[in-house]
Symmetry: C2
Amino acid sequence: MDDTEFRKQHRRALAEDRVSGASQLARQALDSLAEFAGSYPASDVAELRRELLAFAEELQFARPNMAPVYNLAERFAEQVDDIDTSDVLAFRQQSAAAAQNLSDLSVDAVAGAATAAAPLVPNGSVVITHTLSSTIRQLFEQLGGVETEVIVSESRPGMEGREQARYLAHLGLSVTFITDAQMGVFAGRATVALVGADAVLADGSLVNKAGTFLLALAARHHGIPFYTCCESFKHSPFSPEGYALEETAASEVEPPRHRCIQGRNVMFDLTPADLISGWVTEEGIQSSSSI
Amino acid sequence: MDDTEFRKQHRRALAEDRVSGASQLARQALDSLAEFAGSYPASDVAELRRELLAFAEELQFARPNMAPVYNLAERFAEQVDDIDTSDVLAFRQQSAAAAQNLSDLSVDAVAGAATAAAPLVPNGSVVITHTLSSTIRQLFEQLGGVETEVIVSESRPGMEGREQARYLAHLGLSVTFITDAQMGVFAGRATVALVGADAVLADGSLVNKAGTFLLALAARHHGIPFYTCCESFKHSPFSPEGYALEETAASEVEPPRHRCIQGRNVMFDLTPADLISGWVTEEGIQSSSSI
């Protein structure tokens, strides 16, 4: 495959993935960049750097609502910019090492965020969560023997909640599986709402899979706290004003066929900061009362 | 089929119907009662009255969250109690006439409620609604040429929203079809939220298909009014305290198979009165500011 085709395929895989979480996709982007750095047939460092940075920029904007894709590609580009060698092989190795190092940082940050969230889930908690989050998974892995129940909503149309429910059940947790429409009822039976994130915007508002905002509203109504837990690479410099939510193929929602019916498939929603009790990252818990 | 089998089958059809609205099921119950009154092999009026009232009571409690089933069966029983004849044939005829009359009253009340709601949907409105409601359908039929857009959510797991979307599209309306999880996003693009009801409780709180409460929360958040529109036969004497929501087969939500995963399928939710801007019936609009 030539390099144009390589870039196109890797960008498309990133853009069209409907199941993987943002952290996972960001690390996948770094893998693609490392592979490109190692294989692009450049005759000198200047050309390789230029093409690599162009590819990083393509990937950076392939998933506009997934902050770690943007942030890690940005960090990678900065480091590639700073590589000081005229040897093509050395440049390839240092680029790949930069990608691997950022990927490792992200893995550690996710684990650190999960660790920091543990105090939010004392023995006897009933946690309600929406969709799939690898950070929430890791939290429950780390909690080990703590007795908790988890309520998981399915997350139409992708049904990522099914995979989350299965994973948590394999850990031995007691899992209640509900439709998204039942989140209002079941938030009233939980002690805490806890979700991952695709992005946390500059003002603290949360971008996450559609339905998260409804869960936050229900949590507030029922008087239970609502936390988001994610690596700090998900914190984004953008503000919610004019922030565009990714929309994808309407066919996934299977609209009835009729010339007057238009299906819509907005993948994410925006939960305003004032509905959030606290933000957990590898750096700890920042509660709404402290900002 | 003997009468015991007849009663069992008709009660079961009512209990297991996951698609029809509450008004439709109430009228179906009245049809069953009229048929039973005409066919039960009684030797005298006392026996026929006793069996008919017992059947009415069975049907009355077959759908505890659907107020018109309760109310119309109750009204029917009162009228059957008052029939003053010792002639079996006359009793059969008067019972059937009572059922038909109540059914007609319900049909008129639904149409009246739809008429009363029309001022809530001026030209250019963008209405967001959840699940299927025959009253909301009639409202749009009556509106005729008024230019409106309607956003309809699918209403998992029964997907009654699909049928609602199709019906409204056949009327020529521009319909946007979304997952339930997207209600938070799309409430922000609507000018009014308008739903039917399964029951309106004594304090004004609304029992309707699961997800309605989430829509009401989103409507409040986005600052658009939220109305419920139904025949007054849906008004219930019960209070929300201790009110039990109907739950049905978890298999409908297709939970992943695992011994630690329990699917739940609570069909309805409860929207507190303070999230409701107004209640529309055939008697007019009662707004929250007037109570």
